[in-house]
């Protein structure tokens, strides 16, 4: 018996819907319960980031980059700071590099915990969400210790960081890592190897590697499809080439390569890799040194333009800055990884049930603050 085509219906999901991870609206064309087309409507959170940056000075852009990917602000700060530094030719002290790596990796863990926790929530597991948020809270407490803010830090500046590490931070960080490492095992037992979770995610929303590459998908979503591409490894920025870590890729252990479970599993293993990097960085962290040493008095890059990419928890985060020699950027473009991730949604969720769309959307780990900018 062939597939019977019924009358198509357009269903609207969002913008106020807990499963769309923000103010995203999906126009879903359904045939019965089978999805035939998805049209994501974005822009509800648009606040003219790029145009606004042309009207503020280089240091004033940093609080705005915080608000793009508000789950991983440190990584956004880092990407912007590195780009401007390269444009100006600033060498930052080694201690600053280490502090930046530590912050970026802590924020990567926090971001992945949020992604995995809410993903569990999307497919019906509430408890792991609470446990992961409990641990994320401890990372945010550490950030509060460092810079006073819990979510939008404005910590990594051009040429340095805003504050030196507080006394006793390294011990606190080690304490957290010692506490956290066994927790990953607990998450795995609770959620990753749960039969119901596997049934909901394995073999669902398969993104073949060629589709992922042709849509420009990066980060854990691309690695979930089995492509080993990590900018920290393949195009090292800052001091990532000093650290020894693996790039986890999806292998399709419980289904097809590139399914939702693979993308989930890549994130879970990236948390472990981040812990590895953190242990190395905390060990090698230089004691002395002034973190404000290389901060320029006036940020006025020479004429020219630069494109520099970094690996944020969501993927390839890049800034394109054109300078005309004034204290304000002439043009600033941000390449956001979540924006390319959402574009592939239509392609990979066609033919799946409506409830699977929520699982696929959750596995892409989008942040609307970054999509809309």
């Amino acid at each position: 018996m062939g597939i019977i085509h019924g009358e198509e219906m357009v269903l609207n999901i969002g913008p106020q819907h807990p499963s769309t991870h923000g103010v995203l609206r999906l126009k879903v064309r359904t045939d019965g319960e089978v999805v035939s087309d998805i049209y994501p409507v974005i822009g509800y959170l648009h606040r003219c980031f790029e145009k606004h940056c042309e009207n503020v000075t280089y240091e004033q852009v940093i609080p705005y980059t915080d608000r793009c990917d508000y789950v991983a602000s440190m990584n956004n700060n880092l990407g912007y700071a590195i780009t401007v530094e390269e444009l100006m030719g600033i060498e930052v002290p080694e201690k600053v590099e280490y502090i930046r790596i530590i912050m970026a990796e802590f924020n990567r863990i926090a971001s992945h915990l949020l992604a995995l926790g809410t993903y569990g929530l999307d497919v019906g597991a509430f408890t792991p969400f609470l446990y992961m948020f409990r641990d994320r809270e401890r990372i945010l407490d550490m950030f509060e210790l460092i810079c006073g803010a819990r979510l939008l830090y404005n910590y990594i500046w051009v040429g340095g960081v805003s504050h030196d590490l507080p006394k006793g931070f390294v011990e606190t960080a080690y304490g957290f890592l010692d506490y956290f490492e066994p927790q990953v095992k607990e998450y795995n037992n609770l959620l990753t190897y749960n039969k119901i979770f596997i049934e909901r995610t394995a073999d669902v929303g398969v993104m073949p590697p060629d589709v992922a590459i042709s849509y420009g998908v990066t980060g854990p979503n691309l690695r979930g499809s089995g492509v080993k591409w990590d900018i920290r490894k393949d195009e090292p920025y800052s001091i990532y080439n000093k650290f020894d870590f693996e790039v986890p890729v999806g292998k399709g252990e419980l289904g097809t390569v590139g399914d939702c479970w693979d993308r989930y599993w890549v994130r879970m293993r990236e948390i472990e890799e981040s812990v590895k990097i953190l242990r190395q960085a905390l060990k090698a962290l230089p004691k002395g040194g002034d973190v404000h040493q290389a901060i320029p008095k006036k940020i006025r890059p020479p004429k020219g333009s630069i494109y520099k990419r970094t690996e944020s928890p969501r993927g390839d985060l890049a800034y394109y800055i054109t300078s005309d020699g004034t204290p304000k950027p002439y043009r600033l473009k941000m390449r956001s990884p979540a924006f390319t991730s959402i574009s592939v949604l239509n392609e990979i969720s066609r033919g799946w049930m409506l409830s699977d769309v929520i699982a696929i959307l959750g596995s892409l780990d989008i942040v609307l603050g970054e999509i809309d900018r």
Binding site: Q60, I62, D66, T127, A149, L152, N189, N194, K195
Partner: protein, 195 residues
């Protein structure tokens, strides 16, 4: 058939593993309690940000405050603000570093510099503030800061400053009546002519 029973078996196993973990957490509820009954209990305020040296840095993000006796009206904080929530107006003082008693203007700051300006308006719109802390760094007299931190003895930390009216969140720090007074001083003849 075999697969059917295998699925049932795997489901039971994974469910019992999950329940086992949650049960352990439930039995440890006293030890592992992570939430607070917020309005009744609060995080102890000093300990919240303690564990490092407060003297050097202002690492608190809370309400902005200005010590007007120290402000010299250099407008550096206004220029640093990325959202333009600070607005300052100044008038040149007649004599540098002299007190003006009527409006409570203090001529010399606590660090000893003589003021050349009288600040007639210093408004911070906390509804617009993005708590980026950029305004506190360039201040030469350290007179604008977020409450708590190194100035905790003078201005205890305050996270909870919600208001019923939006206009109550616009903080006006300038000395009362200073604007009228200074304008009357600056344009005395004009007013007479109008009268």
């Amino acid at each position: 058939m075999k697969q059917y029973f295998l699925n049932i078996w795997e489901t039971i196993i994974s469910l019992s593993t999950g329940f086992g973990i949650t049960w352990v957490h439930m039995l440890n509820i006293k030890k592992g309690n992570v939430t607070l009954q917020y309005p009744e209990e609060k995080w102890p305020r000093p300990e919240r940000n303690i564990g490092f040296n407060h003297d050097d840095y202002n690492v608190i993000r809370s309400r902005l405050t200005v010590d007007m006796d120290d402000c010299i009206g250099c407008l550096k904080c206004m220029r640093a603000c990325p959202v333009d929530c600070i607005s300052i107006e100044t008038v040149k003082a007649e004599t540098r570093g002299e007190d003006i008693k009527d409006i409570g203007h203090v001529g010399i700051t606590s660090s000893g510099s003589k003021k050349a300006m009288v600040v007639t308006r210093f408004d911070i719109d906390m509804t617009e503030c993005c708590y980026c802390n950029l305004c506190t760094y360039p201040c030469p007299e350290d007179c604008i800061f977020m409450t708590g931190g190194p100035n905790a003895d003078r201005h205890p930390i305050d996270y909870e400053f919600s208001e019923y009216d939006r206009t109550d969140l616009i903080y006006r720090f300038a000395k009362k009546g200073s604007k009228e007074k200074m304008e009357a001083q600056m344009f005395p003849k004009k007013e007479k002519a109008e009268a």
